[in-house]
Subunit: 837 residues, 2 copies
């Protein structure tokens, strides 16, 4: 947990006004910078202290042994883990021979600011050395979103109270030792010590280059640095290189008022087949490009890039400043992870930490790409082209598993399956339909026909093939998919998981559509007419289990027969349950880690009636403990759709604050990219009730009681649509592109740049709010519009906030009530409610 | 596979008339000797060549790391594996300085005989050294069934064609290197190199002692040897010891007609807490005891022990000499594994090899103990007392898993769970009901009240408690047990596995009975009246899934909805399936590794009607591939009960020949103890249709067409009942004990020693023979009563045999026919048949 108030609330920045070494690992992730190719954790320039030193290049991994106690056919033989590449962040400082280290001397002030408009991390420190010399240090750091291979630091030191000898040591270091890690948490990464062997080190005028190669995966990493120095007269520099490191030293004596300024540009590149010399040339060439722009030019380009993004994608939340900040922070991090990934995967943690070994999972396609599809679609095509690049491996994997078509890996960096626990990986075959969904969504939202022909069609066809071989028609003709694992990781190997079946149904139909749309592709893949017909038949007869007595859909055939989890006797310190109960117990009971049937109602909302959605939501809400970060956003979306707007707001708070408040207790291992992407989904798909089924877009906005106004933007078929609504009216404005039609509730609206369209919002039916498992209600977000005297007074800031009456754990200990008594009192008595349906 | 004819067929011996080094590993297991405390594989005295050198002491294990790729709560942190203890078998021979090694020089003859009446392994070799000196070597070896700590070898050498210098080196060797093993077969053992550290070595008159301790598990093993030498005048001896070995050397010169004879007695002991000195004294004391009896006295005691066993337990099969031999071989091996285990477990491989790491599984209780309960019940109490000794650990394990009562480990040596794959271990919670079944069976079959009070009641109560917490009453009141794995390892995590539910039902009722029978025990365990009532209620409402459309019981709730396995397109070289298909595929389909519902019909036969049994058997027979050794015997039992007597005979053949023919291709790792115990079950519970439900015994004998007569004996409540029947009549004779009553079919028979009772056997309804999966029919056993000219002529022996037309694989390639065309022709056209029910 990160305590409330650790960061100040500002609309366009995340500011940490003072240092807390207890939260070092957490802030290393939160202040991580990336462009999808390079990732630098928010480590201090001086290198220490750190919790996890991290410099990453997308897809640079080392092969590891996957330990298996009882092996069986089809288990992966090797794993992959992200490695810490050459660290270019290091700039050590000596003040009168005393090394600058926040653990020594006295830190008078220490501020870090992540500027969401500039895309830079600034740090300002006033430090008194153990010998009582005080200096002011200011660094500005960014990973260029424009120049894919570059990361830049401006480092400035100024003595405040007397003349000082200043030495800067700017370094490149390979094989930086991994940190100590917590044990026994399956989400932490394997540690590979010294993954690199040295291949080349050389120096040049004010700079140096290192080339290293991973020992087993044989990936060659080159890093170069060059410097510009502004300092008092007499400032001297020197360059030195060794096999695993290079150092550029600056030495000077400065008086108060004099500043020593160092501009450091680091360039990175890697390749699995290019030679040492080529790689050296590449990174030195990148440096040359940086020279032509200069520090200010690079910074300006960075600002311009982000300005363009925010113009197309910004979200405004009037009435909840904390979430306003959190949503922009979320969008910034996802953008960073994706912007220049360029046909590489987006890992679950982006390039912000080693969590989950740097692997990519299904949530890229199900959470990250939907956000990007409607805000920054260009990079979606790239991620899906990466998936396409591993299609041959997926075909082979399907064959090895005894199936047809393509079976994509559950977790991977390079394309091979990297999971050591098959009931939650191989069996979670839904990943293939998730990828197909992302393909269909992207193609439909962009009209990118070239992508469709070159990439999309083949992926849809091969995944449709997979489903036809995974499922079967039973005696009644229904198409069943047995023994699979859905999104909820507290169930496994169930039959007819509704999410999986509905996603497969869409996949089968879209595969058939693609084969008919691209006869040449179908011919090349030897798709017969009978095969297409079999996909249509399977889709048309897809079995969707329903429990008539309870009038709800079953998460899977056997789910509702199981014993409900005993929430009443589960202590709050027993969450997350998977760290305190065996899967044997979890799988046998009605307890849900993360939205599953509810996610089906989001992504396949067209398959449910409004009444079914309301009843299903109420039933599953009472069983969902949200031990995964991939739940709150989906619950926000469906809560909003069925009419629980306060709850939707609460869940938006949970997903958007996932990392700024460290709600999952593991942000030190990296940012939860999908949960943060889910913040945008909670706003647009939740409050905006935006849906995109088939090729058509629709909105049905609804404002939560604690907000005054919501604005979001959607990129669709080259247009930018701005949706802005308060409690009574919505205004649609076309900010870019030719006229477009979409649904507003049941009305078809045609929108052109000439004129915004405004509509009065319908009044939604009041529903009884559903209950969460005992003690698992989300923190209630309080309305800023309430009279001031009713707001908690313990906080110095008068802004909406999480309830301050909660214990240190993120869950309140209350047993049954959906909100603490104080919050309920504040909201007054419940209005009369009718249950939907 | 071991080819037919490798062993000659004899009623009381397994004779290998010539050496085949290709089958060295297999014969090391088949010729292994044990008494349940000591196990010696059939390695040559000269030590090499060997496939797996093996000397074992029951429960001497080393702790190993259990590698887990993705750990989770409740996974075991350490494993255990059986280790090769001090090898006392070694007697090396030099002939004129040439070491005797069957790979050098020329082996003129090499015969090994396992004598099932004497309990000894004899070996006779005529060997010509590379220097052309020919000697005759004769060894006689046994592990004493009477003296628990002793193993004995008589070794004799005689030059045949000229005078020879003979040297014998009799040794004790610790840390004998493990053999190379096959990779990627989950059934093979972990290798621990050099598990021991040396603690003491010392020599004495014609002998020596070694004490060693395992490095991690800290088990102290002592071994001593003493010798008696008879040789030509001038024979000299010398003793030498080193830290890991001791050697007694005998040197002489012998002429033809002169023999050098060495009697070697080896004594073993181990302890987890006794001191080095105590352990030394213990094994030297055992040697002193051996002196007083002498080699002949020890051998006589061994014969007497076995004569007593065979008198009580022998089975006669007239008409199938090969199975006559195989059944006695089977019974001998199980007896060896159990006789002196004395409150230690009986591992799945006994002490014959390192397979399954030397672990004990549920099959001890479900297969081995039922055989022993009715033939040699004393050691059953011991095995169950071992289970009782680990009850505290099982209680703790249940608590760790979030359950009540006791949860016994799926696989263990010392008591801790040793499985690295929970869906087939933790989830196979039926092991607890299996143990309870063995407790109830033993108590009822022996009337051992002291055991019931001291051991049985507590185990029944704690396992009943487990079931009450594992299951739950659903909305209809039915008691469900969800998400468990039954005996069939090609399904996992299913709901309401019928076997599990019925065994749990019995366990709950027996737990309630025990609590009511032993109020003091119940009070001590804090069993309330409400708790007993809840057990009764759960048992009375136990849910047993039935499929009304197919009119069969479902193996588990979801089983019959799954897609049937595509047997037609499964090649014969893809068996066993688990080495060629992922569990993901196997679990999702209707394919059965081993009897599951059919085992329920055996152990809980009282819960099914005869018609249900017939229909169920036919349905599941078509899905059962027998990739486990734990299947054929159960199929034999139920095939016989429902009237498929030829098939029952075939399955008896498969289970009894499991190891003599190496049908599972892994006998080199050790004997399949449960399958061999199953041979007796196939005869007595199959052909004899003996059942023991509640406290009552019943028989309903029925003779397979290819046999002339079957005789078996049953020990029950201190009596020995001999059951002997041909196709038309059965005769019951009481060979020991007071009069007793039992059922013969529907008739109550009272039997006394005064008079045997004879009854005419009813004619059974003819049934259509069920089909097995394509290519998976068992080998048909041919009637010896058929005209001679129709029997295959390729074999030199005119005795019943396995079809000789089969390919090298144990399964015939035919697709659908239950027997090869040749076999069917021999039997003539099928008789008119009616389907039962």
């Amino acid at each position: 947990m990160i305590p409330e108030g650790h960061f100040t609330v500002e609309p366009w920045a995340v500011r940490e006004p003072k240092l807390d070494l207890e939260l070092l690992g957490e802030t290393e992730s939160i202040f991580a910078l990336s462009n999808g190719h390079i990732g630098w954790r928010g480590n201090f320039e001086e290198g220490e202290p750190h919790q996890i030193a991290g410099s990453y290049l997308n897809a640079v991994y080392e092969q590891i042994r996957l330990p298996i106690a009882e092996s069986a056919y089809g288990y992966p033989e090797a794993g992959q883990t992200i490695v810490n590449v050459t660290d270019g962040k290091i700039i050590r400082l000596l003040v009168d021979d005393e090394p600058f280290d926040v653990r020594y001397g006295k830190v008078h002030s220490h501020e870090r600011v992540l500027d969401l408009k500039a895309g830079v991390l600034e740090r300002t420190v006033t430090w008194e050395s153990p010998a009582h010399r005080t200096v002011r240090i200011h660094s500005t750091r960014f990973v260029s979103l424009v120049h894919r291979g570059l990361a830049i630091i401006r480092y400035e030191v100024e003595p405040l109270d007397g003349s000082a000898d200043l030495v800067l040591q700017s370094e490149l270091v390979a094989n930086v030792p991994a940190s100590t890690r917590r044990e026994n948490d399956p989400r932490t990464a394997e540690i590979v010590e010294s993954p690199f062997e040295a291949e080349l080190n050389d120096k040049f005028e004010r700079g140096a280059v290192l080339v290293n190669c991973t020992k087993k995966s044989r990936l060659r990493v080159a890093a170069a640095m060059s410097h510009e120095v502004h300092g008092p007269r007499g400032t001297q520099t020197e360059t030195f290189t060794g096999s695993d490191f290079a150092r550029f030293t600056v030495a000077t004596t400065a008086k108060p008022g004099q500043r020593l300024v160092l501009h450091k540009v680091v360039s990175y590149g890697w390749s699995s087949f290019r030679s040492v010399e080529t790689m050296r040339d590449q990174v030195e060439g990148e440096l040359a490009s940086a020279y032509t722009h200069g520090f200010d030019g690079l910074l300006t380009a960075q600002r311009r890039f982000l300005a363009d993004f925010w113009k197309r994608a910004d979200v405004q939340l009037d009435g909840d400043d904390e979430l306003q900040q959190a949503v922009r922070f979320s969008m910034f991090h996802v953008l960073q992870a994706a912007a220049r990934a360029e046909q590489r995967a987006i890992p679950a943690k982006g390039l912000t930490g080693p969590g989950y070994d740097g692997h990519t999972f299904w949530d890229t396609e199900c959470f990250v790409l939907p956000f990007l599809t409607y805000t920054y679609p260009g990079c979606v095509a790239d991620v899906l082209r990466w998936r396409h690049s591993i299609l041959d491996g997926a075909r082979k994997r399907a064959g090895d598993l005894g199936m047809k078509g393509a079976a994509f890996p559950w977790r991977t960096i390079h394309g091979e399956e990297g999971s050591g626990y098959w009931p939650a990986s191989v069996a979670a075959v839904h990943v293939n339909a998730d990828i197909a969904d992302a393909v269909v969504r992207y193609t439909s939202a962009t009209g990118d026909r070239r992508f469709d022909r070159e990439v999309g069609a083949e992926m849809l066809i091969e995944t449709a093939r997979l489903w036809a071989s995974v499922g079967h028609h039973d005696r009644t003709g229904a198409f069943r998919i047995d023994g699979v694992t859905g999104p909820d990781e507290y169930s496994a190997l169930h039959d007819n998981n509704v999410y999986t079946n509905l996603m497969a149904q869409q996949n089968l139909d879209c595969g058939a559509d693609a084969a008919e749309r691209h006869r040449d592709v179908a011919r090349r893949l030897k798709v017969s007419a009978a095969e297409i017909k079999s996909w249509r038949r399977a889709a048309a007869n897809m079995y969707v289990p329903y429990e008539p007595e309870l009038r709800i859909h079953k998460q899977a055939s056997q789910f509702t027969d199981h014993e409900p989890w005993d929430f009443e006797h589960t202590r709050s310190d027993q969450y997350p349950l998977f760290l305190h109960f065996p899967y044997f117990e979890l799988y046998r009971k009605q307890v849900i880690k993360q939205a599953d049937l509810v996610l089906a109602m989001h992504l396949r909302g067209d398959a449910f009636t409004p009444d079914e959605k309301a009843r299903n939501f109420a039933y599953y809400e009472a069983l969902t403990v949200r031990d995964s970060s991939l739940s709150a956003c989906t619950q926000a979306v469906i809560a909003a759709e069925v009419g629980h707007l306060q709850l939707a707001h609460d869940y938006l708070g949970e997903t958007a604050l996932m990392d700024l408040r460290d709600l999952e207790h593991n942000v030190r291992e990296g940012i939860h990219m999908a949960a943060l992407a889910g913040a945008w989904l909670a706003v647009a798909h939740g409050f905006g009730c935006m849906r995109h089924h088939g090729d058509f877009l629709s909105f049905a906005p609804r404002l939560p009681p604690a907000l005054q106004k919501v604005t979001f933007r959607v990129t669709f078929l080259g247009r930018t649509i701005r949706v802005s609504f308060d409690a009574r009216r919505v205004t649609y404005a076309l900010e870019r592109g030719r006229p477009i039609a979409f649904h507003h509730y049941d009305e078809m609206i045609k929108l052109s740049r000439a004129r915004a369209v405004s509509r009065r919002l319908p009044v939604l039916k009041k529903l009884r709010e559903p209950k969460q498992p005992a003690g698992r209600a989300p923190a209630r977000r309080v309305s800023a519009a309430r009279p001031k005297e009713l707001r908690p007074t313990s906080s110095p800031r008068s802004r909406p906030l999480l309830s301050t009456s909660r214990p240190p754990s993120r869950r309140r200990p209350s047993k049954r009530s959906p909100a603490p008594a104080s919050a309920r009192r504040r909201r007054g008595p419940s209005p009369p409610s009718t249950r939907a349906g």
